[in-house]
């Protein structure tokens, strides 16, 4: 009997899981469907689900009106670049926090996290002015820099929790075996932390890819990533519902595909610190 009950429960939970999954995915699905409609159909009430004239018109318009490859390139450069730059700073920092802690380590970690509690708009003006004076407005370099700074606390925290799972004995063994600090990090720490670094990297690429506040405020056209590309179709005048959907679909497609293939690492990354 116990078996039957447990399998019934299993089926119940599976169905529930699919329902929740579908609810979460629905907005994305709706956006994708809307992108194949005409503008009139896209706002029609009641909305049609499948039985409308499927059209690629929106994609064609979007591609002719804006430079999609440029925005993709910008998004890739900004998200990957800022993540790599942040990793270069975060790996030594997390090493120090995890393996050479002092009395102040906890305080410094909390302080770094506290910067995430500051509303971004609070520092918009000073950063905007700095960017203007340094000629960084609408440049990829500027965005790489700003997104690196924004995600750095999260990256350091994630790496710190991963590094702490590595037994310090092994690093000490490397020291005894004659490894200098850079070699200890390169030959022993990093290879052992690869899964952690990979999920940190993935999660931060996604965070940077989706970051809209700074990318919208600090770019105009040249360095505008996909977020700005979508926003350009959200106009207070005129009806661009279908085109906006097409732009959104194009913008999320690359990251959706990447996310699909790296589910395992992502789950580990999102639940970091939750399970020891």
């Amino acid at each position: 009997m116990a078996r039957a009950v447990s399998s019934r429960r299993k089926i119940g939970f599976t169905i529930l899981g699919w329902i929740v999954g579908f609810l979460i995915f629905f907005p994305i699905l709706w956006t994708i469907i809307a992108s194949f409609k005409t503008e009139a159909e896209a706002i029609a009430v009641p909305p049609s689900f499948i039985n409308f004239d499927w059209t690629l018109e929106n994609y064609i318009t979007v591609n002719t009106r804006s430079d999609y490859p440029l925005h993709v390139m910008n998004s890739v450069v900004i998200s990957v670049g800022s993540t790599i730059l942040a990793l270069c700073i975060a790996i030594p920092a997390a090493w120090a926090f995890a393996f050479s802690p002092t009395k102040r380590t906890k305080d410094v970690l909390m302080w770094m996290l506290s910067t995430k509690m500051l509303p971004a708009v609070g520092v918009l003006v000073p950063i905007y002015l700095l960017f203007r004076d340094w000629g960084l407005l609408d440049t990829r370099t500027g965005l790489v820099f700003v997104l690196c700074m924004i995600n750095l606390p999260i990256i350091i925290w994630m790496l710190y929790t991963y590094f702490r799972e590595i037994p310090v004995d092994i690093l000490e063994a490397a020291r005894m075996d004659g490894a200098s600090l850079p070699k200890e990090v390169a030959y022993v720490l990093l290879p052992m932390a690869v899964p952690g670094i990979a999920s940190t990297m993935l999660l931060n690429i996604i965070l940077a890819w989706n970051e809209a506040f700074w990318t919208l405020n600090l770019t105009a056209s040249n360095a505008a990533p996909l977020t700005a590309f979508i926003a350009s179709y959200s106009s207070p005048e005129g009806l661009f519902w279908a085109k906006l959907s097409a732009a959104s679909t194009l913008a999320i497609a690359p990251i959706l595909i990447m996310g699909w293939f790296s589910q395992k690492q992502l789950v580990r990354g999102l639940t970091f610190g939750a399970v020891k």
């Binding site: 000490e172 005894m176 075996d177 004659g178």
Partner: protein, 334 residues
């Protein structure tokens, strides 16, 4: 190669003084065992010598050179950890070759030395495996292999056998002793197990609360312990301590008699007692005897099989030449 001298070495963690100041000379080729109860500072002392902890004060010299501030990688010492601390992402071959790679040796030379170490340690069949695929004993051997390839000035062992089961521990003890005989390199070995200390050491350093209680060869410590702590720590089963009236005839506050230095008789003897629990090991019999000499039951080791029943009356006679006398402070009276 392998002379290590400690001068007034002190270690403080925050407000706690773990090692108040130790002077110790370890001679070339010696097998020195640091032994003591847990928390006595023996591992800390080893880590200070290794360079994994910074000394708070004092001086460490290795082969006559001041190594006090040298990083571990520059001290030329090899260490075997309790947890083995193998590199989980590397094969056995790479694990053993790692110190040589760090030293910038040619790949061909590394390969030759790894092969040699693997042959010595019976690891040739496992060179392509990762540490996760090895048994405890094999991992231990890889850890030793990793330390011997580099031909260090001295080997440091931090409780290397405590994760192994009893049978394997006995084997590895022999293997390490064997290794010391063939390499003739200085070895410093930390353990809380006095059996390991007695069987392997040339010189035992008994530590308590960061202070050296006594230094000497195993037999010196066994025969002439300088205080009650050493007397009780070295030897198994533990020495019996007898206080009060029974100690008075010996002009001592306390007398100590090892379980193996008390003879038993059913007719007559110095002290009278009743048999408590007996443990028959075949080769030996351990008896717990409640006697009028002492409040605590006395432990007696009788050779071979000894036939008594619980509650039997029995007489005990200590071997007068093997009685240890201690004053009120626990120091030996010579």
């Amino acid at each position: 190669m392998g002379q290590i001298n400690l001068t007034q070495v002190r270690k403080v963690f925050g407000a706690t003084e773990v090692i108040p100041g130790i002077d110790l000379d370890i001679n070339e080729g010696e097998f020195v065992v640091f032994v003591g109860p847990s928390g006595c500072g023996k591992s800390t002392l080893l880590r200070l010598i290794a360079g994994l902890e910074d000394v708070s004060d004092g001086k460490i010299e290795i082969d006559g050179n001041d190594a006090t501030r040298l990083p571990p990688s520059k001290r030329g010492l090899a260490m075997v950890f309790q947890s083995y601390a193998l590199y989980p992402h590397m094969t056995v071959r790479k694990n053993i070759g790692f110190p040589l790679k760090m030293a910038g040796m040619e790949p061909a030379e590394i390969e030759r030395k790894v092969q040699h170490a693997a042959t010595t340690l019976n690891l040739t069949d496992y060179l392509e495996r990762r540490p996760g695929e090895l048994s405890g004993g094999q991992r231990q051997r890889v850890a030793i292999g990793r330390s011997i390839v580099r031909e260090p000035a001295a080997f440091l062992f931090d409780e290397p056998l405590s994760n192994l089961d009893a049978a394997l521990r006995g084997n590895m003890r022999l293997e390490i002793s064997e290794l010391h005989k063939s390499l003739k390199t200085t070895m410093i070995y930390v353990t809380h197990d006095q059996v390991e200390a007695m069987t392997m050491a040339d010189k035992i350093v008994v530590l308590q609360a960061g202070v050296i209680e006594q230094v000497g060869s195993p037999m010196e410590l066994y025969r002439f312990p300088c205080n009650k702590f050493v007397a009780g720590f070295i030897g198994s089963p533990k020495m019996n301590f007898i206080e009060g009236p029974a100690a008075e005839p010996y002009n001592a506050h306390t007398v100590g008699v090892r379980p193996e230095h008390i003879s038993l008789s059913k007719e007559s003897g110095t002290w009278r007692g009743r048999v408590g629990v007996t443990e028959h090991l075949g080769s030996d019999t351990f008896l717990h005897i409640h006697s009028d000499a002492n409040r605590e039951p006395l432990n007696i080791r009788a050779q071979g099989e000894f036939d008594v029943a619980y509650g039997d009356e029995i007489f005990l006679t200590p071997d007068e030449s093997r009685i240890h006398r201690f004053d009120a402070n626990g120091l030996a009276i010579r």
